[in-house]
């Protein structure tokens, strides 16, 4: 590419970069708030609001007391402004709260929000009752409370429990109590402990022995009320021989103040069970100066407890001002399998420190890590990973590949892999590369008639292909578009 060709493209790219956040909007629905601030009373308020049993309140209080003694972690390559935990609301729910059979009965305001969220057509068809449409169950988390759950009946027929976690605590206390906090204990880390104390709502899934969940389960998170930290809690248990695929996706409205999101996701896979957990994350990343934007401090962990169990994490991370997220697998079961496929895109002034941990305790356990980091603008993108092999874990295999792509010379790409091996029979391989989009690639694509942005999107999608392939169909299309949108204006 010659300089003369670049100049007008730069102007074009600049115009694209100045485009406002397409999905930035806020819906005005009356909300009920817990008083601002965080103390034991807030925890009690939340628990009481949800009509929780005594043991749950005790569990929350224990976490809250622990949290008060902890310090926020600072080891990540992130520049996190100090967070005033007292200057936030810890509970907000839409006032009209009634159980409804279908989304048609929903508040039209909320319906419009869903439309702007871009719920896939297939899903809207299903919602409209179109014959033969692929079924996807939606547990819509509107702010903190599940407003509607569709397809419950079909799931119930299969024996699958798919509830908001508050409902599950009321309806299946024994099941929840057995697994809650078993994967991510209350004292796990600062943000997980905070979540344990004040988690607002989330999802509970239980797939019984031998059941293959008849549809993909999906949830749409949405941070809506100003100044409301959102603390989702997700717990998925796949009993022996069960299979479930869970999709999580989100966008968020434009805000000036930083919003904290500290979710916890716990997965449990027993013998021969398989869980596939896919995430597309597109929260508001802040404006061009990095003002606003979501803080995404998430703890996601899977326990592959049973023999031959398998957990696969796939994530496409394009949003959030700051991301701190390490979906991990504890591979306790013999021949258990952990997978992590990730595309993380940072643009503007975004910061992402993300990766995975694969803890191999079981004999013959295997893991695959494929991480693709794309940095543009003035952003920083870090892969941080751990592969640990316990002394008793014979025949462990791990393959790690982390590739970074830099767009522009003002961004950063970092790789911090830890490998700790205590068994000689392990085979651990780690590869990493750092590259940029070459002028030859651009020239070729543009010479075929693509404009600059389409060319970048094409090359980036190719770079991330191995990960995108892992996504369920509905998500793959959305994710590809998202990558293109996220990088608009980043190459000139």
């Amino acid at each position: 590419m010659t300089d003369t060709a670049v100049a007008p493209k730069n102007a074009e790219a600049l115009a694209a970069a100045n485009k406002k956040y397409e999905w930035g909007f806020a819906t005005e629905v009356e909300q009920e708030f817990a008083p601002k601030g965080l103390n034991e009373d807030t925890v009690r308020y939340i628990s009481a609001k949800k009509g929780e049993p005594e043991w749950m309140l005790d569990w929350r209080l224990k976490a809250f007391r622990l949290w008060q003694t902890m310090e926020a972690p600072d080891w990540a390559k992130l520049n996190v402004p100090p967070i005033d935990y007292q200057d936030a609301y810890y509970y907000a729910e839409p006032k009209q709260k009634k159980t409804i059979a279908s989304l048609d009965e929903l508040d039209p305001e909320i319906r419009r929000t869903y439309e702007k969220l871009g719920i896939p057509i297939a899903e809207q068809e299903v919602l409209a009752g179109v014959e033969g449409a692929r079924k996807v169950a939606v547990d819509a988390v509107f702010d903190s409370v599940s407003v509607a759950t569709t397809f419950r009946k079909e799931l119930e027929a299969a024996g699958v429990i798919f509830r908001s976690i508050s409902e599950a605590i009321r309806e299946y206390p024994d099941l929840v109590r057995r697994w809650l906090g078993k994967v991510v204990p209350q004292r796990d880390n600062y943000f997980a402990t905070l979540n344990s104390a004040v988690f607002s709502d989330g999802t509970f899934v239980y797939v019984p022995e031998g059941v293959r969940c008849p549809m993909e389960l999906s949830t749409y998170f949405r941070i809506n009320a100003e100044n409301t930290g959102q603390f989702e809690r997700t717990l998925i248990v796949a009993d022996k021989g069960a299979y479930v695929s869970y999709l999580e996706g989100c966008t968020a409205p434009m805000r000036d103040e930083n919003q904290l999101h500290a979710a916890v996701v716990e997965l449990v896979a027993l013998d021969d069970a398989e869980i596939k957990y896919s995430t597309v994350q597109n929260w508001y990343p802040g404006d061009e100066n990095g003002v606003g934007g979501i803080y995404n401090f998430v703890t996601k962990r899977a326990l592959c407890q049973g023999r031959n169990s398998k957990v696969s994490w796939t994530q496409v991370e394009t949003g959030s001002a700051i991301t701190w997220k390490y979906p991990s697998c504890v591979l306790n079961g013999e021949n258990s399998v952990g997978e992590f496929y990730s595309v993380a895109v940072t643009n503007g002034r975004q910061q992402a420190d993300t990766g995975t941990k694969m803890i191999h305790n079981g004999k013959g356990s295997r893991s695959t890590i494929v991480s693709k980091g794309i940095s543009a603008g003035r952003s920083d993108n870090t892969y941080r990973g751990l592969v640990r092999v316990a002394p008793g874990a014979e025949g462990v295999r791990n393959f790690t590949q982390c590739d970074s792509l830099l767009l522009g010379d003002q961004c950063g790409a970092h790789t911090v892999p830890y490998i700790e091996v205590r068994n000689p029979s392990a085979q651990i391989e780690h590869e990493a590369t750092t590259s940029k989009i070459s002028e030859d690639q651009m020239f070729y694509a543009m010479q075929r008639g693509l404009d600059q942005e389409a060319a970048v999107a094409l090359i980036v999608n190719g770079f991330a292909r191995e990960v995108l392939q892992q996504l369920p169909m509905e998500f793959a299309v959305e994710a590809q578009k998202l990558l293109g949108i996220s990088l608009e204006g980043s190459v000139g």
């Binding site: 961004c411 892999p417 490998i419 205590r422 590869e431 750092t434």
Partner: protein
């Protein structure tokens, strides 16, 4: 001295600080023999006993002994301030075959070193550590345009702890190549920060760390590219037997604007027993977009196929294993350019391997 670091600090989480404390608490005792340690050659020879220069055993040549006030923020390196050794060469001078033997008899000893090479100057320095106790060193290296330094360091202390800190600034088209061999009984930490400050500079730091018993050795090296067209190589090999542990942490930083950097890291670990540990951390921190930085890291046991191949050619299992292990270690040691030094290092590694295998 300043506060010792703790394992709670991210950069020191794998360090055997307990061994350091234990080594420090020992009392000074017998002096090990050093005659066999000299490598053939007529370059300057220096002996330090517990950090004190031994004039009667030395022919220092161009190396001077003088007070050195190192400028460092390193917690262990900063403890070395005092009298140390200094090699300053003017432009286009060449002094090769400098050998320094550090003998420790127990307790702790600290010593700073300074190497300054003028434009196009050339030097090679071999350092050998023997004895017991805690030996702490800081070596500051400054290379002017086109200067070349070859550094080879053997850690042969029988017990105790050796901590080395290297701080180098590499000028335009200058080259620093350093190889470390840990084949003694002491725990160690080889800590380095090499800055490629001039365009087209080259930095290499690598080596082989061999551990057995309860020993723990580690390297923690950062190469920082601050200029254009720089290249760096970090090739480390770890062999851990018994209940020992080797940790290799190597990092490449590419500063904003340090385009066309070519950084390569290769960290490989070999576990000889199921109780041994190898930790690896190949780290990249990149702020420029037109760079080539790759790293490879592997841990495991010997390749079964290679072992089978050798056995099928009539080699018994023991010698076959030894041959493959030797080849594994040789990747790092063969980087030494001077034949006599390379052979001496290979012999030390060989001695270790024949005892461990």
């Amino acid at each position: 001295m300043t506060q010792l670091p703790t394992n709670r600090m991210e950069a020191w989480r794998w360090t055997d600080l307990a061994a350091l404390e234990a080594a420090r608490a020992t009392v000074r005792g017998g002096v090990p023999a050093i005659e066999g340690l000299w490598i053939e050659g007529d370059g300057p020879r220096l002996v330090f006993r517990d950090g004190e220069f031994q004039l009667d055993l030395s022919t220092p040549g161009e190396v001077s002994i003088e007070p050195i006030a190192p400028v460092t923020a390193h917690p262990l390196g900063s403890a070395t301030a005092g009298t140390g050794w200094r090699l300053t060469l003017d432009a286009e001078r060449a002094v090769t075959g400098i050998q320094i033997v550090h003998v420790a008899t127990g307790n702790e000893n600290h010593l700073p070193g300074l190497i300054e090479l003028g434009r196009d100057a050339v030097a090679s320095v071999v350092e050998t550590f023997v004895g017991n106790g805690w030996t702490n060193r800081l070596t500051t290296i400054r290379l002017a345009e086109g200067a070349r330094l070859m550094r080879s360091v053997r850690l042969l202390q029988a017990s105790g702890f050796v901590s080395l800190r290297e701080e180098a600034e590499i000028g335009q088209a200058a080259s620093l190549a350093s190889v470390f061999l840990g084949a003694g009984g002491a725990s160690s930490r080889v800590d380095g920060e090499l800055v490629v400050a001039g365009d087209g500079g080259f930095a290499e730091m690598g080596g082989a760390l061999l551990t057995r018993g309860e020993q723990r050795q580690e390297c923690a090296v950062t190469v920082r590219h601050a200029a254009l067209d720089g290249a760096s190589r970090q090739i480390w090999r770890a062999v851990a037997a018994d209940r020992s542990a080797v940790s290799l942490a190597a990092r490449v930083d590419v500063a904003r604007g340090a385009q066309k950097t070519d950084g390569e890291q290769s960290l490989r670990g070999l576990l000889l027993h199921r109780t041994a540990t190898v930790n690896l951390k190949p780290e990249l921190e990149i702020f420029a977009d037109d760079v080539k930085c790759a790293h490879g890291a592997t841990v495991g046991e010997l390749d079964r196929q290679a072992l089978f191949y050798l056995q099928s050619r009539g080699l018994p299992e023991g010698p076959a294993k030894a041959m493959l292990t030797r080849a594994f270690v040789a990747d790092a040691i063969d980087r030494i350019g001077e034949d006599a030094v390379r052979e001496a290092f290979a012999a030390d590694a060989e001695a270790w391997l024949s005892e461990a295998l």
